[in-house]
């Protein structure tokens, strides 16, 4: 592993959690679903209810890696007029109120549209800690990773259950902040069972050293979060299950941020059990 010039926000957070023997809870939500004011309130509610990091999705018209729940959320956010610039502006307004690291989840096209350099500069200025780009594989990631690093952002790379061992080692070595282990062969979504073949991959990646390993895609509730922790993962990412709760609260006219906060607290309890 090349030595980092300085310790990033994400690294610091994982180091603290590892020292405490805790598994990081990383909720995912789509910015602007149903509007950015709700997203802002939800981010604060998630931190207050035990989130350690947050993955914030920038809505995109063609989210290839996402299942129906997050597709629908992105559709609602776009219908509400959410733009990448507005998402970053909202994030910037939370400076001083939100202390956890925020990882931006964006597809390649909106990022290229703004330009890698300009996007990273704006993301860093808004206070983001890192980037996840689900349709940018290792072969295309080198350039973006260097630009992101120059702005103090970690480019988090993904490995999948189908990734061969040699390639997995290369991705893990190139990933910054943490490595995102996709827990299912498939798109994002709520699932009733996890793929057990993923469990040994956590230890394999950790044995290589370097960045922490967070598991995501398909974690539906506290029990599965606890299962991921049992595999030895450094973090658990919960997306569709949270987005679904938020959509249900919205449909019932309930407080979306409060509903998100309650679900986050349940996940926290599952992880700390």
């Amino acid at each position: 592993m090349p030595a980092a010039a300085s310790t990033s926000m994400i690294q610091q957070r994982f180091q603290r959690l590892q020292a405490e023997g805790r598994c990081a809870l990383m909720p995912f939500l789509v910015a602007g679903d149903p509007d950015l004011a709700t997203t802002k309130a939800t981010l604060l509610a998630l931190e207050a209810n035990g989130a350690d990091l947050i993955e914030l999705g920038i809505p995109y018209s063609d989210p290839l890696a996402d299942g129906p729940v997050i597709q629908a959320a992105a559709g609602r956010a776009l219908a509400a007029g959410t733009t990448p610039a507005a998402v970053l502006a909202m994030l910037a307004e939370l400076k001083g109120q939100l202390s956890l690291p925020v990882v931006l989840f964006t597809y390649t096209n909106p990022l290229l549209n703004r330009g890698m350099e300009a996007f990273c500069a704006a993301a860093a200025a808004a206070g983001a800690a890192g980037l996840v780009v689900p349709d940018l594989p290792l072969e295309e990631a080198e350039k973006l990773s260097a630009i992101a690093a120059a702005h103090g952002l970690d480019l988090v790379l993904l490995v999948a259950p189908t990734t061969p061992p040699e390639r997995m080692a290369r991705i893990h070595g190139a990933s910054r902040g943490f490595t995102y282990l996709v827990s299912v062969t498939g798109v994002t979504g709520v699932r009733t069972a996890m793929e057990t073949r993923v469990a040994p991959l956590v230890a394999q990646l950790q044995a290589q050293g370097g960045t922490p390993v967070a598991v995501g895609f398909g974690i539906s509730g506290p029990d599965q979060a606890q299962q991921v922790k049992g595999w030895g993962a450094d973090g658990a990412i919960v997306g569709s299950a949270l987005v679904k709760r938020m959509a249900e609260a919205q449909a019932q006219g309930a407080d979306v941020a409060a509903a998100a906060g309650r679900f986050c607290a349940e996940l926290r309890q599952g992880l700390d059990r």
């Binding site: 063609d62 390649t108 096209n109 290229l112 549209n113 072969e139 993904l158 189908t162 990734t163 061969p164």
Partner: protein, 418 residues
């Protein structure tokens, strides 16, 4: 995006088959593999399998045998005498030849690729096939070869396209395929392609995705082009036989661009041959309701490839509009973007109304009802032919027949035909 790439500086010298695409799957700056990591090993496997297959005489012999006995190749190069006469001036005019891909089994060029990829799937031991379709021609071709080889077949099709192309939906079901309606977005080809990719991400270990155009992540633009290259190879030999030389102009419609790439590929090094792709201008490029990606698009990434793309100021992909379901796509194959950028090929756009006029003209003059997609290529003859010197040899790729479009055409022209 800046568009500097070593291959661009090298210009036409880079246009050797061996470097299109390069080792990283790029045509100049275009192409690449922008897909979820889950698919990367499958793309590598597909690239390897294709390379091995093309080097295996058992594969090419079987492919060529089936192209002849099942598909009906070689397709004729037909001299369109009355269309030629229609565009003749007092001093003469261009001579128009039609490459009759409409005479293929299933009625379009699409089966060249579907057959080749089905044989590849068999080699890879994958017995479940998925595909996307717009006009339904690729879906029908895929369902056809799946029936032929006993493979499970699921076709993703936009709900709006299923309405427009009800006949082809029924054909696919007759052939034993399951047709999955896609209601997301504009419920057309773009959304069907996204859904097919999501299925592949989920079932990649058991499933082969027969992508239907020269689009998508590497190796698809190369793979699909290579299975359609037979169109241009035959045309080259047929031109030599018919008039003893190379044609002067090739013209084909472009949605994703597979029939055009198939015709163009063998002629790309022959720089005396003018290559013209015709896109769908829908209700007019100025209306914003069109599918003229190369004419109006900016560089972006869709469905795994960097290419020109119809997108808004924020990088959200825009919905395309065309009367022709097969051209109704906001992206275009990366090799077309490259050929345009280095100036090797030129691209124009014609409207729905111009395509409909052309469809009637060709039907009445030649006794051939072309597909609405193909009608766009015919429509471009209206502005092209008056500019061409007498004796110019023009080959138009008659990519498909229009039976599937009769309902759509009747809706638009019904009153006037009565």
């Amino acid at each position: 995006m800046t568009l500097t790439h070593p291959a661009l500086q090298a210009g036409l010298a880079a246009l050797q088959p061996a470097v299109r695409p390069d080792a990283s799957g790029r045509f100049g700056p275009f192409g690449g593999q922008y897909v979820p990591e889950t698919l990367m090993p499958a793309l590598a496997e597909l690239e390897r399998a294709a390379a091995e297959a093309w080097a295996d005489p058992a594969f090419t012999t079987r492919l060529n045998h089936l192209l002849k006995t099942y598909v009906g190749r070689a397709t004729p190069l037909y001299e369109a005498e009355r269309l030629t006469a229609h565009y003749a001036r007092p001093e003469g005019g261009p001579r128009i030849w039609l490459k009759r891909e409409d005479l293929n089994h299933t009625g379009a060029h699409k089966i060249n690729n579907a057959l080749g990829q089905a044989l590849l799937a068999l080699r890879m031991g994958k017995r479940r096939i998925i595909a996307e379709t717009g006009a339904g021609q690729h879906g029908v071709a895929t369902a056809t070869v799946c029936a032929r080889f006993g493979l499970d077949c699921v076709i993703y099709m936009g709900a709006e396209d299923m309405r427009r192309q009800a006949l082809n939906v029924f054909r696919m079901r007759l052939l034993g395929a399951r047709v999955e309606p896609v209601t997301a977005g504009s419920a057309t080809l773009k959304d069907a392609t996204s859904e097919a990719i999501r299925d592949w991400v989920t079932n990649v270990e058991s499933t082969h995705y027969i992508l239907g155009s020269v689009a998508g992540p590497h190796p698809y633009p190369m793979l699909v082009r290579d299975f359609h290259a037979v169109i241009g190879q035959e045309a080259k030999a047929q031109c030599a036989e018919a008039f003893g030389g190379l044609p002067d102009v090739l013209i084909a419609c472009v949605g994703g661009g597979s029939n055009a790439m198939g015709l163009f590929h063998a002629f790309v090094p022959d720089t005396s041959v003018r290559l013209i792709g015709v896109e769908a201008a829908g209700e007019g490029v100025a209306s914003g309701r069109h599918a003229a990606t190369i004419t109006e698009g900016r560089v972006g990434v869709l469905h795994g490839a960097m290419s020109l793309l119809l997108q808004d100021a924020e990088g959200q992909v825009q919905e395309a509009h065309s009367i022709s379901a097969g051209l109704d796509y906001p992206g275009v194959g990366p090799e077309h973007s490259y050929l345009r950028q280095i100036g090797r090929a030129e691209y124009a756009a014609v409207t729905d109304d111009q395509a409909l006029d052309a469809l009637r003209r060709v039907s009445e003059l030649e006794g051939i009802i072309p597909a609405l997609e193909t009608a766009h290529a015919f429509a471009a003859l209206e502005w092209l032919c008056p500019q061409l010197a007498p004796g110019t040899e023009v080959v138009l790729n008659l990519s498909g027949r229009g039976d599937k479009d009769v309902n759509t055409v009747a809706e638009r022209l019904g009153g006037r035909l009565a």
